[in-house]
Symmetry: C2
Subunit: 308 residues, 2 copies
């Protein structure tokens, strides 16, 4: 049973791990947001892709929610001593991904091939596909002016009021290698949208020309896992952002946002009953343990089976 999942970082990586545990990695393809990617200290950083790499290879720092388990920070200390920028933390081990990726990108290799090699080196069987190899940058128009994602999310800790979100470069971007094939594949039983931030992590993927159309015409059902748990975001600024964008913080609003891209939505059992235009099912969608992740993956696939 082949499954494709559209995902951002932490929450999405948890669902991806549930899927690979349930089905085997070779059955899973993750199409990953690159709208948060940026160049920092001259290094190409791909936060969501790297979270997938760490999570699916068992190297993720589960307590922290990002980065590597057992990370050390001597690089950052030295950067600070030299007066370098230190608002974005790059761990010593984490740097290997950024340095090797940057060197290969400069040598002309594509991000997809680079990530495939990293995944193979770490014995990850799932396919981790950048949504695009062309630069797409999530930009937030805020009460403090226009901020790129990392300056909004890390440097300003999601404090600014968001008026509007844009995906710079998206109009010119092409889907990454394998992306449209993974969506259109007739062997694929389900396409899931992970419980990542719909506006910051999933919308950039949908903004790449061709991906939305491919989802709408896919043979496989598209099922979103709601990012809300009891009307709250589990982590991150989803609820705050929805309010600032003038949306109700409800499952209905998320479903309306995805519109006809989705055929179903898995809703957390803590949320109030919702009237949705698509098929839905309810489950405990909190993913604290590996068993939770497998359970949520199974519930999403069960829903997909009913709308197939």
């Amino acid at each position: 049973m082949r499954v494709t999942v559209l995902t951002g970082g932490v929450g999405g990586a948890k669902l991806a791990l549930g899927l690979t545990s349930l089905l085997g990695g070779e059955q899973v393809t993750a199409i990953v947001n690159t709208g948060d990617d940026f160049t920092h200290l001259g290094l190409a950083v791909s936060p969501d892709i790297d979270t997938l790499l760490y999570t699916l290879s068992g190297k993720a720092n589960a307590a922290q929610g990002w980065g590597r388990e057992g990370e050390s920070w001597n690089f950052m200390a030295a950067v600070r001593s030299l007066g370098g920028e230190d608002w974005f933390q790059l761990g010593d081990g984490d740097l290997a991904l950024h340095v090797l990726r940057s060197a290969r990108l400069r040598a002309g290799d594509g991000l997809g091939a680079i990530i495939a090699d990293f995944a193979a080196a770490w014995e990850i069987e799932a396919a981790i596909l950048p949504m695009s190899e062309d630069p797409v940058r999530t930009m937030l128009v805020t009460d403090e002016g226009e901020l790129d994602f990392q300056h909004y999310f890390v440097a300003r800790r999601c404090q600014p009021l968001v008026h509007r979100i844009a995906f710079a470069g998206a109009a010119q971007a092409r889907p990454g290698p394998g992306v449209l094939e993974a969506i259109g594949d007739t062997e694929t039983s389900a396409i899931l949208i992970a419980p990542s931030n719909p506006f910051l992590s999933v919308d950039p993927i949908l903004a790449v020309p061709g991906i939305r159309d491919a989802l709408q015409s896919a043979a496989a059902p598209v099922v979103a896992v709601s990012p809300l748990v009891g009307g709250q975001a589990v982590k991150g600024p989803t609820a705050k952002l929805m309010a600032e964008l003038g949306l109700e913080v409800t499952v209905e609003a998320v479903a309306r946002h995805y519109g006809d891209v989705i055929d179903g939505m898995l809703v957390d059992e803590r949320d109030p009953p919702a009237e949705l235009a698509v098929a839905s099912a309810r489950a405990d969608t909190m993913m604290r343990t590996l068993d939770d992740r497998i359970r949520v993956a199974q519930a999403a696939l069960d829903l997909a089976a009913t709308v197939r």
Copy 2:
């Protein structure tokens, strides 16, 4: 009393530290070999300059002879796990110099200004000047073919037989900012050539057009500290290299090699008495402790005073 010293890495950095301890850092200018510089994993590495930075800021790993005290190696472990090149060791803290230098070079800053900023951040008062900001690469023609310095020195541990040494790019290189001024400065009391490898660390500096002429016409006396101690190199391939290049491993041969660039040579007291064409003095030139370094610096300056 102002002093300028031409230097490679480890041995030269010891003499530079002796000079700054003796005179105060603001009186010392180091003109540093960049022939060993190379790009590794996409990062601009300047081994000799960095050894000066570490040594003069008290961060050098004295026992190891290179790199930082208290270094950690999580980056290299992660690079290895990803199948990246691991023959050249980059420590976690050390990476800060390479990453920040690379980013600033790409942004168009000159190496001299970058190193001056690093030195200021680490409260180094001595001036650390790249011999050139243009690429000069020390190449060794060996029985295993042509090798760049790092592949000869690190990857092949100086094992190949050396037929010839060349400095690629030297003919087109210009002296780095401040280099000719430091040599020609009429306030300078002495110009020292550190006990670095004459063929691999000093010759690249002399190969930059304008530097040899400036030394020959300098108002200040030029005194070399012999790299030999009892007919042996203290560290590194000097003696092996001299034999392979058909030279006797003697102080006379070193003095002849420097020719009319030098006005005097400080010789280790363990070496047999030498007949030199230039003034000379004898001293214990082994530099194990800081006191040793100060003593050797003083002996070299004393010799310079006699030939002024």
